[in-house]
Each structure stands twice: as C-alpha cells, then as structure tokens.
Amino acid sequence: MNRIPRPLLIQAGTILLFLALWEIVGESQLLFRGIVPSVLEILGAAWMQVSTGFVWPHFLVTTYEAFAGFAAAALSAIPLGILLGANPFLRRIVEPPILYFAATPKIILFPIFLMAFGAQLESKMAMAAVSGFFPLAINATLGAASINEIFLKVAKSVGASRLQVMTRVYLPSMLLPIFAGMRLALGASIVGAILGELKVSNAGLGFIIIQAFNHFRIAEMYASILLTFFFAAGVNLLMSLILGKVRRFTPERGIGW
C-alpha cells in the first residue's frame, strides 16, 4: 500500500509546512508588508527574470568569475598539494598555516583585491581563487600523502623520471581526493565571487540581489536569491555526478578512499 518511503513524506511535509507558514506570516501583516511576499509572487518574479533574459548576462558574469578563479585555485593548489604530500618535512611546515587560513573569513581580503585589481571582474576572480584554493590544497595534500608506497617504489625501480612519477603515479591515484576537493572548491569559489559582487560590483548574480535589496524590490530580491541557489545546487549536483563516475573508474588503491 504505502509505496512512498516515510522519510520522503516527512521531507515533503516539512517543505510544505514551511511554505504554508511563509504564506501565513506574509498574509498576517505580522511583519512589515512586503518583507514576506507570497511564494507565487516570488516564483513569478523569478520567471520574469529568466524569461525576459534579464538574468542571463549576470549569470554568465558570475560563472566566468567563479570558474576563472577556480581554475587559478586548481592550478596552484593541486601541484602544491602533491609537493606537500610527497615531502613530509615541507608538509609539517606549510600545512598548519594553510589549515589556519582555511578557517578565516576570506571575504575580509576583498578590499585588498579591490585596490589591487579594481572594481571590475578581476577582484571577484581573486575572491573565487582564494576561496577555492584552501579546500582543494587540503584535499590534494591528504591525497598525495596517503598514496600507496608500493606504486612509488615500482616507479622508482623502473627508472621513472620526476615528471613521470607526478603524471603517472600521483595524479591517477589522487583523482578521487582531487575531485572531492574540486567539488568543495567550486562551491566555495561561487560563493566567494557572489559575496564579492554583493559588496562592490556592476554585474553578476550578487549584483542583481543587492540592487533589488537597495531599491526595496523584495520579491525580485528573493527571486534572484532563489535562482542563485538553483545555480549553486546545479553545479554541486554536477560535481557529485562526476565524482561518482571517478569513483567507479578508480582502481583499488590498497587504501580506503
């Protein structure tokens, strides 16, 4: 009879309850009128932003900033991670400050980026790069450090060069931790870029959110936030799918990842 699993029912019920409460609070005038617009109004505004093409240029700007920053983060964090993972001594020196910096609010660096790179896209790219760097560097270090020693010994005994060891041993056996790190890093890069846009920008998803806020177009603000969440969730889902594929293609490594 009862085919739908009960946790799913509870999840759906909770979301419906939340939406119902939202509508009730909005109708009750408990809060200042307009602060809690009806869900339909928000969805309508979101539809307007998508169908009129208003959101797309901003979407592209944010994507560009986030991915450019993410690429810079990946190109620096992965080699660094391999270097640290392969050198226990270096790791002992460099890893602690990385871990400390990772737990600080990166957005505080944004004014420095603004001064260095200006208020255009570049400062947001720098935000995305710094935000994405730490999760990826931490994961790559862990991955490189836990590499199967036997692979390294085999490579050495067949006379592999340094570069060959890096590309033939480290990279393939680090695919999983690297992709796991990339998933976190890309999410962080997107948030970093958008936070920067919320502060100082003239384009991007963060820009349209804060513009709507400043002009008190509240339904449009919610709509832009909703679209931004969809964007972030979509990227996250995509990365999870890729991670699943990588996991299936990664051979047994003798250690648990």
Binding site: R6, P7, L8, I10, Q11, T14, L31, I35, V36, Y100, F101, A103, T104, P105, I107, I108, L109, F110, P111, I112, L114, M115, G187, I190, V191, I194, L195, L198, K199, G206, I209, I210, F213, I218, M221, Y222, I225, T228, F229, A232, A233, N236
Partner: protein, 210 residues
Amino acid sequence: MIAVAAWERLLAGELLGPFAKTLYEVAVTFVIASLAGLTAGYLLWRYPLFGKAYDDLLGALFASPVILLYPIFLVVFGRDAKAIIAMAFITGAIPIAMNTHQGLRDVNPIYLKVGQSIKLTRRQMVRHVLFPAAFPAVLGGLKLGLTYVLISVIALEFLIEIGGIGTIASKGYFWFNTEELYLGVVGAMLLSMLLIYLLGKLEAKLLSHE
C-alpha cells in the same frame, strides 16, 4: 606601519570596541547555536524516522550557500546585530546538529545493550553511556560550528557595516584609508586564527581526559 597604527588606536581605545563587539556577537550566536544544535541532534537521534528525513535536508542546506541569504535577514531584522546573530546562527547550528546526530548514531550498540541490561534509567543512559561515547564527535561539531559562526559574523560585519572588526576593513576601503584597511584585515585574520588555535588546544585537552 600597520603595527604602529594598531598601537596608536589601541592606546586611543578605538580598537577594543570593535573587537569586543565581534567577540560578543560570536559568543551570543555560538551559545544559541550550540543549545539549538545539540537539542536538534539529540531529537534527530531519538526519533530516527525524522532523523533520517532531516539529515538529508540539513545536508543540502549545509552544502548550499546559506550566507547569501543575508539580505533577507537584513530585511526582516533590520540593519542590526540581530540580523548578524540570526544569520550566523543558521550557519553554526547546522554542523553542530549534524555532528551530534552522527555521534549519537555511531555509539556502539553494545554499550546501549549493556546499559539496558543493568536497567539504567534514560537519564543515566544519556549521562553515563551516550554522552561520553558521542563526546568526540559532538566536540568536533561544536568546533566546526564556532568556526562557521566566526566566519559568518566577520563576513557580515564586513558586508553590512554595522560595527565590529569586519567593518573597520570595509570603512578603510571606502575612505581610502589603507592603514585602517589593513588593520581590519589583519585584525580579523589574527582574531580568527587565535580562536581556532585556542579551540584546538581545548579540544586536545578535553579529549586527553577521556
């Protein structure tokens, strides 16, 4: 130069106010987030059906950029410390609830069976079996929660400029006062690193007593 600026301001008493404000916001938020997170984690464990359902929802929320919701909190609470505390509360309470739930779920069922067989009351069970066994995971959650609270508070102070250490950096930029800007940046970084360092020490100490 920054050190000189910092020293001058410290003497003038201009630095203590913002630091105190940030620490106050972090402390208040962390206390509320801990109470809510621990309670929620316990309830999720106590009612596994809901635990299963809400674990997915919490995980999704945790993975999504919740901090971007801050304009909503500004609209609802006004440009006020309340908005910062409410926003940071969400980012902090989620990892605490998830880790508490996880820690309680991972308690070896044999411990619980032994407890049942010697007829412990529910309260004794929580106090002498569940709590000690789940303690490391709960502590990890609290640490993560405090880190998130700190990051959110400083980020929001920077973004909406209503005082605190994050605001110093923001104002420094807009008034083109480089000294003040770096003072705010370095201050915020040092504050978070110091807090994380102390937290790590505390965790090691608490766990070594186990």
